[in-house]
């Protein structure tokens, strides 16, 4: 069901700071929807508005056709998993999970049955009578989820639920969270600053920046076709080019002139005409790096440059290659690293190739977003990303 949870022009100001700036979005029933953005982008404020801890200054929040904007938290069919879990330290695991039903005055039999079911769902039957202080971080996380889910909320809000866990546990919990979602089928709204988490778990993502939504879409759309320089730079890594269309080719391609860089061929999805200015985003893994000049292919760009920096990262290697005025960051997967007798290294002259289809034209570009890129500065000269 579409339009299950709807935000209509929701704004929230703290003094002069616009934490949330007229955000409108619509979340479908049963999906995992992520709010992704850097800290301070307003994602948590938006979530707190939805939970009822903050009252928006303007706009409405509609859940299942009902305006819930003015309802206090305890009257909303919405439950939250808090970042620090906020488990009640004076209660046992069982009593923590039973808290919501007790507030709702379920019968004892019903509570016992549901608590047992929840303990089974999170596989913590053996820990039911432990204190909160006696279980690990991952277990606390699971209890927090069970404590929220037992109330059968219409929407489960998760506020950076995995932020306090270490990497391996985070990955495992993410899979577990996905399994729980499949099991209960409740709509999840997931707030995170970790793009990996958001990409991994979400059906759709809203990328947020400075209280506004930059783009809403499926993970693949957000990653492969970012609309703004912010989305391109915050989610994953990228290279920016600014150029001018010189020629529109037959088919969906166009040729760009880029100052301080060879001419490139790009996918013209915006239907631009000669003379139009354009900002291009090109993800690092789209490149292929060659020691020898490869065979030319149609629609494949080929430029020559010098390797300036190499970082070996196990699964892949990051290269920074100087091509005229530009310094490109690229990833090379190690599908045959040990077969290549001599890996490409510092100072080598190399060829870079990428397909015109793999670049993406940006609708909005702000120079400051280049600060989000993880390219290291060169010391001698100012970096031109």
């Amino acid at each position: 069901m579409a339009d299950f949870l709807v935000f209509e022009g929701v704004s929230k100001h703290y003094g002069e700071i616009r934490a949330v700036d007229s955000v409108s979005l619509s979340i479908n029933k049963g999906e995992i929807f992520s709010l992704l953005g850097p800290s301070g982008c307003g994602k948590t404020t938006l979530l707190r508005c939805c939970a009822g801890f903050e009252a928006p200054d303007a706009g409405r929040i509609i859940l299942d056709g009902r305006d819930i904007t003015g309802l206090p938290p305890h009257e909303r069919k919405v439950n939250t998993v808090f970042q620090n879990y906020a488990l009640f330290p004076h209660l046992t695991i069982r009593d923590n999970i039973a808290f919501g039903p007790r507030m709702a005055r379920w019968t004892k039999g019903e509570i016992d049955k549901e608590v047992a079911r929840m303990l089974e769902l999170i596989q913590m039957e053996d820990y039911a009578d432990r204190k909160v202080t006696e279980i690990s971080g991952g277990q606390k996380q699971r209890v927090a989820i069970a404590r929220a889910l037992i109330n059968r909320p219409q929407v489960l809000l998760l506020d950076e639920p995995l932020a306090a866990l270490d990497l391996k546990l985070r990955q495992r919990m993410l899979v577990e969270l996905d399994a729980i979602h499949d099991e209960v089928g409740i709509t999840f709204v997931y707030v995170t600053h970790d793009q990996g988490e958001a990409m991994g778990i979400s059906d759709r993502i809203a990328a947020m920046n400075r209280g506004r939504i930059e783009q809403i879409g499926r993970p693949v759309e957000i990653y492969e076709a970012p609309r703004s320089s912010f989305v391109a730079a915050f989610i994953g890594d990228t290279n920016f080019f600014d150029g001018i269309v010189t020629e529109v080719m037959d088919g969906p391609y166009c040729r760009l002139r880029i100052e301080g860089f060879p001419d490139v061929l790009a996918w013209n999805d915006k239907g631009l005409l000669p003379g139009n200015a354009v900002h291009l985003s090109l993800r690092p893994e789209k490149f292929k790096i060659w020691r020898e000049l490869p065979e030319p292919l149609p629609n494949r760009n080929l430029v020559q440059g010098t390797v300036e920096d190499v970082i070996y990262l196990g699964s892949h290697t990051k290269y920074w290659v100087r091509v005229e005025d530009y310094r490109l960051g690229l990833h090379q997967q190690h599908s045959r690293y040990l077969l290549d007798t001599r890996p490409i290294t510092w100072g080598e002259k190399v060829w870079l190739s990428w397909f015109a289809d793999d670049s993406c034209m940006l609708e909005r570009y702000k120079a400051e977003d280049e600060n989000l890129l993880v390219l290291p500065d060169t010391e001698a000269e100012p970096a031109r990303a």
Binding site: F82, A86, F99, G100, M103
Partner: protein, 294 residues
């Protein structure tokens, strides 16, 4: 020396000085008081030779039950009212913005800058038939000109509450300041109203502060004698007054000691209950459906 023995030795070394301090200045004097109870008195205010149980029997003074009862109810009621005031105060101070929090704390502490006796006398001035408060109340037709605000147990109660309220606010504040308020949000999120979140989550969360406040008010209130002596009348005597009277007027130290021992026991028993009840980690027992049965 084995490591275990070494560790034990270290523990003794660390706790030793405070233990010796307590022994010399607290435990031995208390023991002396208990011992004097079983000594005969001399007509000149001294302590006679030999041992006797006469003093204990003399505690069956027909006036005492009333005084003991008054002492207990004044202490219990003042503790209860102090708590009722201290919990909201402590909560508000803990939740106030940093700047006003410091000011509010200062306001709580300021009374200590004035001598205790002077503050009690100030109450006497305020409540005196010609005093400001009395005049104001009469002027506002809130009390009749003949009413006496001084020299009754309620006045004693009022001044005890006034005196010990800061001792209740401070531990409650200390606990409320450390309390994790996202727990309240979690409770509200899980369907608890403001009041239920306060009662089910906040109060248990600051229970240590509350228990400390109880001890900090109840014990001194039980032993108070200056307050009933100054603002209380003959009908507001507490055990403390009797002890003072036996010591300074009657010069009967064994009798005073007996009363003091009684008071000490009266303080020790609730203290021990509290300690056992709260400061030891209670065993985790399943409390299934306790609330649901309500």
């Amino acid at each position: 020396m084995t490591t275990v023995a070494k560790k034990k030795w270290h523990e003794w070394l660390i706790t030793g000085p405070s233990f010796i301090w307590l022994l010399i200045f607290f435990i031995i004097p208390t023991m002396i008081v208990f011992a004097i109870t079983f000594k005969p008195s001399t007509p000149f205010g001294g302590i006679g030779d030999g041992w006797t149980l006469n003093t204990l029997f003399s505690l069956r003074n027909p006036n005492y039950p009333a005084i003991i009862w008054r002492t207990v109810w004044l202490s219990v009621v003042s503790t209860a009212i102090c708590l009722l005031l201290a919990v909201p105060c402590g909560y508000c101070i803990a939740r106030a913005p940093k700047r006003s929090r410091d000011i509010l704390l200062l306001l709580v502490i300021i009374p200590f800058w004035t001598n205790f006796l002077i503050r009690i006398f100030a109450w006497k001035v305020l409540l005196h038939p010609e005093g400001m408060l009395k005049q104001a109340l009469v002027f506002l037709h809130l009390c009749s000109p003949d009413a006496t605000l001084l020299y009754n147990p309620v006045t004693v109660l009022l001044v005890i509450i006034y005196t010990y309220l800061p001792f209740a606010i401070l531990p409650v504040y200390a606990a409320a300041e450390k309390f994790d308020y996202s727990l309240i949000e979690a409770a509200r999120d899980l369907g608890a109203s403001h009041f239920r979140a306060f009662r089910r989550i906040f109060l248990p969360g600051i229970s240590r502060g509350v228990w400390t406040a109880v001890l900090m008010v109840f014990i001194p209130a039980l032993g108070s004698y200056v307050i009933p002596d100054i603002v209380g009348g003959p009908g507001s005597e507490m055990i403390g007054n009797k002890i003072a009277q036996r010591t300074f007027v009657d010069r009967n130290l064994p009798h005073a000691s007996a009363l003091a021992a009684l008071l000490t026991l009266a303080v020790m028993v609730p203290l021990m209950i509290t300690l056992v009840h709260h400061y030891r980690q209670p065993p985790v027992a399943p409390k299934k459906g306790k609330e649901a049965a309500q």
